[in-house]
Amino acid sequence: MFKLLRPAFVLLVSLTVITGLIYPLAMTGLAGALFPKQAQGSLIVRDGKVIGSELIGQSFTSDRYFRGRLSATTGTDPSDPSKTVPQPYNAANSMGSNLGPTNKALIDRVKGDVEKLRAENPSTPVPLDLVTTTASGLDPDISPAAAYFQVPRVAKARNLPEADVKQLVDRHIESRLFGLIGEPHINVLALNLDLDRVAAR
């Protein structure tokens, strides 16, 4: 038994150092040298200020922007740090709603959102992803249908022709990898940044 303590100690320490320090630190160095942008979190910088990450969704409430999916993330209440309050797209506390399929709270919430969206655009079927929460609370994407659904609202709020806004949406559709893997989607932040650019012209 004691004969086993020496190999146990030596191998535990050395393998810990190899896999727990050398490996992650070497990867950090390599990643920083090869792919510096991604390694930092694919940040978008405008005028020297970070305005977000290409991969992380943001909360949009204004009519002038395309909105992303519902997010169930929470954060501490700014006015009372002992309390936790809903804080959509809190990228320092990822989580889903975890509401189950027969939970009344889920169905009531979806029902309310569907009614609101039907009032906003009665002629188009309500897209599923606009009334369901993202798994991470940080989904950066929506489906093409969800973007088209919002075109009339955004065009009206910005006084732009609907056709122009729709064209913008078309350009932002990312299709399946090899036509097979994943789902077609649109990055909401990228679309909104482009929208600001077009509107500024």
């Binding site: 303590l5 020496r6 190999p7 191998l11 535990l12 050395s14 393998l15 190899i18 896999t19 727990g20 992650p24 990867m27 950090t28 990643a31 920083g32 792919f35 991604q38 390694a39 930092q40 979190g41 305005i51 977000g52 990450s53 991969l55 992380i56 969704g57 909360s59 204004s62 922007y65 797209y89 809190n90 990228a91 320092a92 506390n93 990822s94 889903g96 709603s97 975890n98 509401l99 189950g100 399929p101 027969t102 889920l106 169905i107 569907v114 897209p127 599923l128 369901t132 929460t133 993202t134 798994a135 991470s136 609370g137 940080l138 989904d139 950066p140 893997i181 994943g182 789902e183 932040l189």
Partner: protein
Amino acid sequence: MTLVGWAQIALFCAVVIALVKPLGWYMNRVFSGERTFLSPVLRPIENSLYKIAGVNERSEQDWLTYAVSMLIFHIGGFLILYVLLRTQGFLPFNPQGMTAVAPDLSFNTAVSFITNTNWQNYGGETTVSYLTQMLGLTHQNYLSAATGIVVAIALIRGFARASTRNIGNFWVDITRCTLYVLLPICIPLALFLVWDGIPQTLGAYVDATTLEGAKQTIAVGPVASQVAIKMLGTNGGGFFNANAAHPFENPTAFSNFIQMVAIFALGAALTNVFGRMVGNQKQGWAILWVMGVLFIAGVAVCYWAEAAGTTGINDLGLVGGNMEGKEVRFGIPASALFAVITTAASCGAVNAMHDSFTALGGMIPLINMQLGEIIVGGVGAGFYGMLIFIVIAIFVAGLMVGRTPEYVGKKIEAKEVKMAMLAILVLPLMYLGFTAVASVLPSALASIANPGPHGFSEMLYLYTSSTANNGSAFAGITGNTPFYNITGAIAMFVGRFFMIVPALAIAGSMAEKKIVPPSAGTFPTTGGLFVGMVVGVIVIVGGLTFFPALALGPIVEQISMTRNMLF
């Protein structure tokens, strides 16, 4: 369900199957001590480690010494991780100033990571420092995965060898597994993941000002290096709370696909290692067939259920299935597929929230885990779990024809069957027993997030996932209470070591036996009859054990749902 969805699933299966032979060939060489293309680089490191450790790589161990070595190694790993969690506030690589983790949560987390469960009662980005993530968690991701593999290898040796007490040297196996198998795959995998968008930095969280002027703090960290081994080692512990649903752990459908392949790659290849070691690769393919049949059945039901959606949502005129708790870039097919993979293997990473799955869609992950995650399984763990079921199946087949059962030339006798039954019975004892206790404790019931039968499923899922060392969750439940932290840790510990020790005992008694040449009365274990027999035994033994519990949870929920009953 769509054609594209099924094509995606077929492509996944094809890639995994294509990897079985090359990986099996390579792992067989590594564990047989033969030269590989990495030997010029790794051999000197390996030799110096043995020298300092006082290990003679030619001297092998009997099963008991092997088991004791493994246990001592884990006690050490547990202590390192526990101390790290408790003292992280004073240690470097802590830009967010994370403070000590509470004792019961540290205990749960430490047990969780040494047992390859990676159940997370904590949120990664809100609780642990970068040092803990690397030195504590990444490191245990490696070592617990390596342990699973070497136990499987030891068991395979037991079947392959004859008239010896030795089943290998734990120290040599664990070193080779880490250096030659896990690290060389993780390094390119981690770099791919960074290229695809996963951060790998020691810098602090980034403060951004959003387009609408709000402040958004974006958690980053040394993520890619951990995600690579988390998938390859079927650990599943996320760097972030949302695990593989988080865009920084799984940025695109491409990374999602590669991660799914990584979960299955080594576990599937072990069937080939088995075939090679016992001298007939067909024996390995037969086992993979058993796994494949059960896997495809699970995928079909889960995908169908998620694509069909829930009555409550469909009645509102929404089409497209169940998107609550899923990410748009993966969609329904890749989320359902991921859920089945992660629970078929003992990974436990999630790219969608299982708690929000439909009743039947969420039942498939539960069943996969309750069967003991033998479909490919956790690296190693699944394979020895499967061999244990095979022992039972062969025993049943022997009873039917009235002959002493044999498997790959070895007689299966009373001792092996007893050990196999011990392993099979102790798992339901844990997850059914603790779920029963939790169901009557008001303080445990208070943790439930969803009312009605779904709440019962949450508790059942917690203990099933813990016992099966999976680590995925119906995450609405508040698991971070002293009761769940401690009972969960017990379930994880028993689920891991009461499986490994009997498996090693079987290895030991198998190795001592002589090889019996096949005769006319030998039940062939490479054909369809064998595959059907093993699938049948798994379904019957599994079904008898947990069907009553499923009836109280997902099944009654499904019936309620179709009748539009809400809770």
